[in-house]
């Protein structure tokens, strides 16, 4: 690897002030549409209609800037943000794939941006057709019978599925008794958090040391008449596929519970495994991971939930139906859990996912999972050659699916350099910092790279070379890592406001009150 491909990076460092600091009294960035004189004359002073108590006394303290200043400020902030398009992106658990630009361009058409959710259905047949078709395609991809596009993200989808499980037991008159959801600690945190938010007691199983997932006996001894359901992620963020899944489903069904599988990591199983066929009752896909809708700097995401036919009556309303001639919003679900959000879901993402599936087609979906898994295993082979890097459960699972959870435990023991340090240093080499692990850390000093199918081999080789260099630094010159970053937009951050109520300031007004404006 040539040296210039590895070093020489420096982030854009504007030392950009906060937007309030750029303001100058009297400036304007937007001219408000005028009101016709006839209107003014006709209605007079409307503000006098508002009682004095409800009339704002002082203008809100928003910054005053001209349009060019606003544009420059936010362009600079965008330059200091590291997107998938900016460089090598291997943030695990997120399938940070490149998204075709045509999808973005289509989603910005006024034909979708400028329609209102309450228009007569005759005037929105286009978008309804797209929603209907996507519902159908997701059924085909998952082996489920019905889909709702309403949830906004993975945690929302799991929340919605937990509510369906609740509604199911309620209808059967068993809700009082069935108040436990079983999950596994390596499942995404929402598999515990969301059912708890619905009011379930959550029981968490831990992985077996050999296999990386709970053994059958652990589940058997946990299930009872109190079991409402099992909510787990499969494949896990360790890249391990929990091959007990069939057996789990059987055990849960035998005690009368339902099974919901979090399919946020489905990128590696597209066209190879359909969780509905395996027997799951509910599942969800993250359109912003598997189906290539860009992540938007953390949203808007979109997470569709799929269920078996007998649970269809509980789905959030409306879903989109088709009567053979026209598409319509179907509210006819008397047992529906109701709405889980405003209107019908994150529509631009629905369109982008639809366009992506259409573009790559059935063969492309198979190619996606094949190359994603190949990329990952190539990276695993190469990273395991790096001093200080290990892969827990490598004996039982030498090959992984979409990603792998490594450990820097050995490096930490031998050099004092752990993942927090490496994650700061890696930025100096022009990579984004890596996903470590969701809490709790079962793997010590974890990191979880996921190279999706859109990562070229050359980038994988660069990642490996960067790891070798950082490892070498750890063993020979740890100081450079401890004081990192050196090539980022800013230097090491003072994290004390994270836990100090006297210092934290989530708004500029709070900052001015607590710390004052003179410091800068």
């Amino acid at each position: 690897m040539r040296d210039r491909e590895i070093t020489g990076y420096h982030a854009v460092a504007w030392k950009e002030p906060i937007v309030y600091q750029l303001a100058r009294k009297g400036r304007r960035g937007y001219a408000v549409p005028a009101v016709e004189e006839e209107i003014k004359a006709s209605i007079g002073d409307v503000l006098s209609l508002i009682p004095d108590k409800m009339r704002r006394k002082a203008l809100p303290n928003l910054p005053e800037l001209s349009e060019p200043e606003v544009v420059r400020h936010y362009i600079r902030l965008s330059q200091q943000t590291y997107g998938v398009d900016s460089g090598i992106h291997i943030h695990g658990t997120c399938s940070m794939k490149y998204s075709p630009k045509v999808n973005e361009s289509l989603a910005r058409s006024p034909k979708i941006a400028d329609i209102h959710p309450l228009q007569e259905v005759e005037t929105v047949q286009g978008i309804l057709e797209i929603m209907y078709e996507l519902q159908k395609w997701l059924c085909e991809l998952s082996g489920m019978d019905e889909f709702s596009l309403q949830p906004r993200g993975g945690a929302h989808a799991v929340f919605s599925n937990a509510r369906i499980i609740r509604a199911y037991h309620k209808l059967n008159g068993e809700l009082e008794q069935r108040n436990e959801i079983i999950t596994t600690v390596l499942s995404h945190p929402c598999n515990g958090g969301s059912p708890a938010a619905v009011g379930f007691k959550v029981v968490t199983l831990y992985p077996d040391e050999e296999t990386g997932y709970p053994d059958i006996e652990a589940l058997k001894s946990t299930v009872s008449k109190r079991t409402a359901g099992l909510m787990i992620t499969d494949p896990y963020d360790t890249g391990v596929f929990d091959s007990n899944i069939e057996e789990y489903i059987k055990i849960i069904h035998e005690v009368g519970g339902l099974v919901a599988i979090d399919q946020a990591n489905a990128n590696c199983i597209l066209s190879r495994l359909r969780i509905g066929d395996v027997g799951a009752d509910l599942c969800h896909f993250n359109l912003h991971k598997t189906f290539s809708t860009p992540h938007g700097s953390t949203g808007p995401g979109s997470a569709a939930i799929g269920v078996k036919r007998e649970l269809g009556k509980f789905l959030p309303v409306p879903i989109v139906g088709f009567d053979g001639e026209k598409y319509y919003l179907d509210y006819d679900k008397p047992y529906s859990i109701g709405r889980v959000g405003g209107f019908y879901g994150v529509i631009p993402n629905v369109l982008k996912a639809y366009a992506w599936i259409m573009t790559i087609g059935a063969e492309g979906l198979e190619e996606t999972s094949e190359v994603a898994v190949m990329n990952n295993n190539y990276l695993i082979r190469k990273l395991l050659e790096v001093r200080g890097v290990s892969l827990p459960w490598d004996k039982s699972h030498p090959f992984r699916l979409q990603e792998a959870r490594f450990s820097l435990e050995k490096m930490k023991e031998e050099t004092g350099i752990g993942i927090a340090d490496v994650n700061r240093r890696i930025v100096d080499y022009g990579l984004q910092d890596m996903e470590t692990s969701h809490e709790p850390w079962i793997v010590p000093e974890p990191f979880t790279p996921e190279p999706p199918e859109t990562t070229p081999k050359e980038d994988l080789d660069r990642i490996v070379e960067i790891f070798h260099r950082i490892s070498q630094e750890a063993y020979t010159n740890p100081e450079i890592i401890k004081t990192a970053p050196h090539n980022a937009a800013i230097s090491k951050i003072d994290r004390t406001p994270s836990s100090d109520p006297k210092k934290w300031a989530m708004t500029w007004r709070a900052y001015l009150k607590k710390i004052g404006g003179d410091e800068k």
């Binding site: 906060i18 809100p60 400028d114 945190p189 515990g192 958090g193 860009p294 990562t455 934290w504 708004t507």
Partner: protein, 459 residues
């Protein structure tokens, strides 16, 4: 199969080389973890791959069947409002860095953190609250969060909500509170629409976690007794939660100044296109009290400093409180949010500034009141039903005309006009009623056209 343009390593030569390095001969070996008997071995019933051109042409064909609010003249609002989106908003939210980034730390994503801190800050100034959280899905969901927070903070399990709330939003709130809090509806004064203080006082007790009100209300009028309502709440040790539409705060007293403990609202009007209701942006705020901050379900970005003078840094506050770390103990959930829209809202608010938002709010109110005046000239139509000041939305009642809202809307559509939302089913007690929305995008000619078409429709 040809080499896929989005999958660089789909070239068979590269594949061969990579598999060799991995030490397998066939890619199938890498899927060994998945038991054969559960593998899907059929071909998916989906189409074959298409070129970019074919996809564009096909999808544009489908989309052409939508009639946009630009092609028609729409008076729909009801939670998704038509406003002009300055070109700068689209310019910034099309920046590929913002579009394609996700969850990097501050060292990679400094700009994203700063833009979101600025979003939190500007919302804070608009509503007069010191703590504003990371953006969230939509008004209904942040309202559900607010209710959940109130039960945690007070350890009480009853919520009082005005009967005039949007039934859809109420459904989302109930979804969040099922098994956690009982929702009780408070009646409104039939003349003014205002929350009934007597009914409120008869329903509130030491079991009440919070009273929730909205400003402006779903039915468009301004709740003028925010301060009294907050005082009633506080006198029982309950919290005051206020939901707001943000542009109205150009001239309305911010909830932070009439006793609100928690504030939520919908940010879609701040630079987001309507997207068939698919570009919503919830915001959530609370007082700067540790107990409140600990109950916040979402990420919170604090400003901080770095080792170098002149640099701003950002850091998450109390990360251990959220579901990410606390899992089921958080008793709430969070995750992928609505950051791209929040960045857009920050752009929008910095363009408008204090004067701009004040003027915009006034323009909206002038136009909506002109519409009220014009429609009220039509015989047998009652507009608005409630004798209270209104902002951009108002009720139009057709009972006196003998026509249904549905009939009226059909007649309007023939003139290229989309009438207000039919709320007859949502509020049967109001009779045949439509909820109309007029904003800065409506010209006098649009409003006059609506009045003339309504006149014709009810004759």
């Amino acid at each position: 199969m040809p080499v896929n343009p989005y999958i660089p390593n789909s070239d068979p030569e590269i594949k061969k080389q990579m598999l060799k390095e991995i030490g397998v001969t066939r890619v199938e070996e890498l899927f060994a973890d998945i038991p054969e008997r559960i593998r899907f071995r059929k071909r998916l019933e989906l189409q074959s791959p298409k070129s970019e051109y074919e996809v564009r042409r096909y999808i544009e064909g489908i989309l052409s069947r939508n009639k946009t609010c630009g092609e028609l003249t729409s008076f729909l609002g009801a939670g998704c409002w038509p406003h002009y989106v300055p070109a700068v908003c689209d310019e910034i939210n099309s920046r590929s860095e913002f579009v394609t980034a996700y969850a990097g730390d501050v060292y990679s994503d400094l700009g994203r953190y700063q833009a979101l801190f600025e979003f939190q800050s500007m919302i804070g100034d608009l509503i007069a609250m010191d703590i504003v959280s990371y953006p969230w899905y939509d008004w209904g969901n942040v309202c559900g969060d607010a209710a959940r927070m109130a039960t945690m903070i007070t350890d009480r399990h009853e919520l009082l909500i005005p009967r005039t709330i949007s039934p859809d939003r109420l459904s989302v709130i109930r979804a969040h509170c099922e098994g956690l809090a009982d929702v009780k509806l408070v009646n409104n004064d039939p003349e003014s629409g205002q929350l009934g203080l007597e009914d409120l006082k008869s329903k509130i007790s030491k079991k009440t976690a919070a009273i929730y009100i909205e400003n402006p209300t779903y039915l468009g009028f301004i709740e003028t007794r925010g301060e009294e309502i907050s005082e009633v709440a506080h006198s029982y040790g309950a919290l005051s939660i206020v939901g707001v539409e943000p542009l109205s705060l150009g001239f309305l007293t911010p909830p932070g100044e009439y006793g609100a403990d928690i504030v939520c609202g919908e940010g879609q009007p701040l630079g987001m296109h309507m997207y068939f209701g698919g570009a919503l942006l919830g915001f959530l705020a609370c007082r700067d009290v540790e107990r409140f901050v600990s109950a916040m379900p979402h990420r919170l970005i604090s400003i901080t400093t770095t080792e170098q003078k002149g640099e701003w840094g950002f850091t998450y506050v109390l990360p251990e409180r959220t579901m990410f770390a606390a899992r089921e103990k958080a008793r709430s959930f969070t995750g992928t949010a609505t950051a791209l829209w929040a960045i857009t809202a920050a752009v929008y608010l910095s363009l408008l500034g204090p004067q701009g938002i004040r003027e915009l709010a006034e323009v909206i109110m002038q136009k909506s009141h002109y519409a009220i005046k014009r429609i009220s000239e039509i015989r047998d139509i009652r507009v608005p039903i409630f004798k209270s000041p209104h902002f951009e939305e108002f009720t139009v009642n057709f009972n006196g005309t003998g026509k249904t809202v549905s009939e009226v809307n059909k007649a309007l559509l023939e003139h290229g006009i989309i009438g207000g939302k039919d709320i007859t089913m949502e509020f049967p007690e109001l009779g045949e009623t439509g909820l109309y929305c007029v904003t800065e995008i409506h010209s006098k000619a649009d409003i006059d056209k609506l009045a003339a078409a309504l006149q014709e429709a009810v004759q």
